[in-house]
C-alpha cells in the first residue's frame, strides 16, 4: 500500500502496527501507530496475547522483506491485515504526512525524577508482585487497549517492563489515546542492576 492508501485506511479506522525497533519508532512513526518488536519465532503469539481483536491492521516494517513476512504471520494468526506501507517512513514523509514521536528515558533518569512520573508497569501481576518501581501501577499489555482511558491524561506516564519489549507496546497504546507516555529503555532489568529500590505488594485475596 502506498502512503496515500495507508492514510486513507487509517482515516477509516485501520491501525498501523510498527514493527521497527524501539529507537527508530521513538524518533518518528505514523500518527497513532502501535509498536511491537518483530521476530519470526513468536510475533504471532505475542500479537495474539496483546493486540485487541477485531482491529484492521496496516504493517509498517523496514526493510521491506520484514513487512511482507509480518503480514503473513499476522494473517495466519487471524488478524485482518490490509497490507504494508511500501517505501517505509521515507515514503510517508515524502508524501507530506506528519509523524509523531515517543520520548525515551533510561532508568537513571527515571530514578532521578521519580516523583515527576506515574510509573506504569506493563508486565503481569506476578512480576509486579515480585518487585516493582515504588508506586508503579500494574497495567498488563493484554488489557492495555481496553483500559487505556483509566490512566490520567496530562501527566507524565513512565512505562516499564522487563526490558522494553512490552512497555513499548503499552506506551504506543497510551500515546495513541493522547496520554503523555514515555518509554523507559532497559526496564526492570536495568533498574535491578543499578540496585535501585523496589517494593512488593501482597497478592490480592482470592
Amino acid at each position: 500500500m502506498n502512503a496515500a492508501e495507508v492514510a486513507a485506511a487509517v482515516d477509516e479506522g485501520a491501525v498501523v502496527l510498527d514493527l521497527r525497533p524501539p529507537r527508530p519508532f521513538a524518533t518518528g512513526h505514523l500518527p497513532g501507530a502501535l509498536t511491537m518488536q518483530f521476530n519470526r519465532a513468536d510475533l504471532g503469539d505475542r500479537a495474539e496475547l496483546q493486540l485487541p481483536q477485531g482491529i484492521r491492521l496496516v504493517v509498517h516494517a523496514e526493510p521491506e522483506p520484514i513487512a511482507k513476512v509480518a503480514v503473513e504471520i499476522l494473517g495466519e494468526e487471524g488478524f485482518e491485515v490490509l497490507g504494508h506501507l511500501e517505501g517505509g517512513l521515507a515514503a510517508w514523509r515524502e508524501a507530506g504526512h506528519p509523524t509523531e514521536t515517543l520520548p525515551l528515558i533510561d532508568v537513571d533518569e527515571l530514578h532521578d525524577e521519580l516523583d515527576r512520573y506515574t510509573v506504569v508497569d506493563a508486565r503481569e501481576g506476578f512480576e509486579h508482585r515480585h518487585g516493582h518501581v515504588p508506586g508503579a501501577v500494574l497495567f498488563p499489555p493484554g488489557d492495555a487497549w481496553e483500559r487505556a482511558d483509566e490512566l490520567p491524561a496530562g501527566t507524565p506516564l513512565a512505562v516499564v517492563c522487563g526490558d522494553q519489549t512490552r512497555s513499548a507496546y503499552v506506551a504506543s497504546v497510551l500515546r495513541r489515546r493522547d496520554r503523555d507516555a514515555v518509554l523507559v529503555m532497559g526496564g526492570m532489568v536495568d533498574w535491578l542492576e543499578r540496585g535501585f529500590e523496589t517494593e512488593r505488594t501482597a497478592a490480592p485475596a482470592a
Binding site: 508486565r123 526490558d163 526492570m188
Partner: protein, 81 residues
C-alpha cells in the same frame, strides 16, 4: 554445584513474555522434584523468570549467563492443584 536437568526448554529467540509463558506450560509436564532448564536470549527474562518461579511455587535453583544466553534451572516443588 552441578545441577542435572530433567527437561530442557529452548526459548532462545523468543521475546518476552514468551519464555515465561512456555516455561509455565512445560513445567506442567514435570513431576514434583524434577528440574527444568530454560534457555533464553531475551534480556527481560532476567526479571520475569524469578518472578514466575516465585509466583508458581517453584524454586529457581540457579541462573547464569553464558555467551549471551541466559540459563535458568527451576525445580518444580508442588503440583498444580
Amino acid at each position: 554445584m552441578q545441577i542435572t536437568e530433567d527437561k530442557v526448554l529452548d526459548a532462545r529467540g523468543l521475546l518476552c513474555p514468551m519464555p515465561v509463558v512456555k516455561a509455565g506450560k512445560e513445567i506442567k509436564t514435570l513431576e514434583p522434584g524434577q528440574v527444568l532448564k530454560v534457555l533464553a536470549t531475551d534480556r527481560g527474562s532476567v526479571a520475569d523468570m524469578p518472578a514466575w518461579a516465585e509466583d508458581t511455587g517453584n524454586e529457581l535453583l540457579e541462573w547464569h549467563e553464558e555467551n549471551g544466553v541466559f540459563v535458568y534451572f527451576v525445580r518444580k516443588l508442588a503440583s498444580e492443584d
